[in-house]
Symmetry: C2
Subunit: 383 residues, 2 copies
Amino acid sequence: MEDTLLMIPGPTTVPKRVLDAMAQPIVNHRGPVYGEILEETTAMMSEVFQTDNKSYLLTGSGTSAMEAAIANIVEKGDKVINVVSGKFGQRLQQLTEVFGGESIEIAVPWGQAADPEEIKRVLDENDDVKALTMIHNESSTAVVNPIQEVGKIMKDYDALFVVDTVSSLAGDNVKVDEYGLDICLTGSQKCIAAPPGMAAITINDDAWKVIDSVDSPTYYLDLKAMRKSGDKSPSQTPYTPNVSMTYAMREALSMVLEEGLDARIKRHHIGAEATREAAKTLGLDLFAREGDYSNTLTAINMPEGVTDNQLRGTMRNKYQIELAGGQDHLKGNIFRIGHMGTTGLHELAMTFACLEMTLKEFGFEFESGAGVAALEDIYLKNL
Amino acid sequence: MEDTLLMIPGPTTVPKRVLDAMAQPIVNHRGPVYGEILEETTAMMSEVFQTDNKSYLLTGSGTSAMEAAIANIVEKGDKVINVVSGKFGQRLQQLTEVFGGESIEIAVPWGQAADPEEIKRVLDENDDVKALTMIHNESSTAVVNPIQEVGKIMKDYDALFVVDTVSSLAGDNVKVDEYGLDICLTGSQKCIAAPPGMAAITINDDAWKVIDSVDSPTYYLDLKAMRKSGDKSPSQTPYTPNVSMTYAMREALSMVLEEGLDARIKRHHIGAEATREAAKTLGLDLFAREGDYSNTLTAINMPEGVTDNQLRGTMRNKYQIELAGGQDHLKGNIFRIGHMGTTGLHELAMTFACLEMTLKEFGFEFESGAGVAALEDIYLKNL
């Protein structure tokens, strides 16, 4: 294998088609050629978000879109409910506070999904909240939060529903209009399988009304400026966009739509189930609570008898496979396998073969090939 | 010619070497391989800034670095002197105000460079200013501002000297330490000749002291977070960086250093002189005041008898050469030729040949080839 296999929850392996598209010569970002590419790409973005809203591309990480979502709606003293079930939920809370908001935290134990009933209760207690923020797929804990159920609840409240789908869009069900997501954002380097460095956001009319009423200390991530430039003909961005990443996103989104959004999501679900079954077959424990499992990555408790450095170091140095560690207090306690983007059966088979060999090296006992066999079973059942 | 020739002031044509580097497979942004690439790239960045400071890469446009420079030092009510001699000077002023600063504007007529004596006078009148901001190379007017002279003056004052070198670094003299630039920032897509989408910033100890004393409403562009991540081993970025653009920057900066920074700057100076002489030979008037000319782009008054649409449209549609128009109130009144990055003799020769043909088409009279001949003279004198 020439290149290291990325089995982390983003960036994922980027298909050669996308890398080649990215390497095309640069065009004038203020000219009609770029304008057409931008319009085509943002239209595909809206299709993947399953929304009639316009979408906007940001030259920045997923975090830049998280900041755009918060900074443009939160003013000093505004109450915001932040559902915090992991590191990225915390980030939306931190952003709320950085921009002067008063955070009402719904703390969910790491490894569990938020409870819609608890959210309803907190909404009832706080009828003056401006927004509720939620991470759809909490990649720090490999848990999926129930955005559809919460979206239904939110329809009875005035607050905006702000949802981060950085590590789920195009890999799990995200129906912006049907679920009632007022602001939804994502990143390029997860299930869309483009390189990192671009983010996307879509905003409905209710959210625009709030944004139009807010005067935020934000400039680079000013959504009103993005809307104004996007409405120009040809469509533009307020500041020089990453032209190469726009090519990459256009190609990656084309691949998503060629595969078919539903087929791609189903493929992610199968990969997730196969990963869980393979891990369990090897005697490993999943970190997330049963039923709350992410469909785009899996977190596995670090088994006793091997350290994070030993396990992931061996996978990296001996087998050229990158796994992710735990973040913050989970560092050393879990490892995470990303199965997003174009990653599927073949990559998981390699990964589990090498994971089995790594575990054997550190004295674990199981029948060789058992994990891979469990993978095969799930795929055979589903294909 | 297969691809359109970019003669705009950024993005510039990106060398194939850089595009190919960018298209390499993605690595784990939290692993040692990326850490090494990041450290190597930021070290080259500091070399090009001519500073012993550390430098930081931002996944964003040049404007993201402008915001980082302002947002991290300005608090509500802080006085900041903004030298405004064009659109980008205005942008630093807008950013100052967005982050609650009180702007003291030194308004310089568009097309002229700032006067160091005037700056000294305003500094003397305002002994409580926190910073002075200046665009080194104002690409909206094709004027270069005297950062070296102003840097000398600033040494007698406590205020930070914040300089934007987005369109000058690696194409004109920028010696961060020698000139006393406390914060200096740039972009990827100008004289460095990488694609757009990455920015860089370098910060000296005086500036860090101010940054450490400020609690800004900034998160994605938080410089303290960048310093903390950069100090890790391996070096990291706080949020997922554009890995591909890091490759591109590494390759583009390698090309800058292989050519030699002084040689590259001299090449830009020659290209600028050649462009001015060629334009004047064709009877065209330069927009900028004599002596204030930029070394990386040239602004030319739109001659009577042809419209912006006719001139630039013909250059684009008939000859596949992109020129830039004027911005804001200069729209339609000037056109701009970028001669930055790897753009030099060959590209300018093509451009002036086609510009001559375009002008002839609209009835202008001059000896065919006269502009190109003027170019040749300047290059022959200098090579």
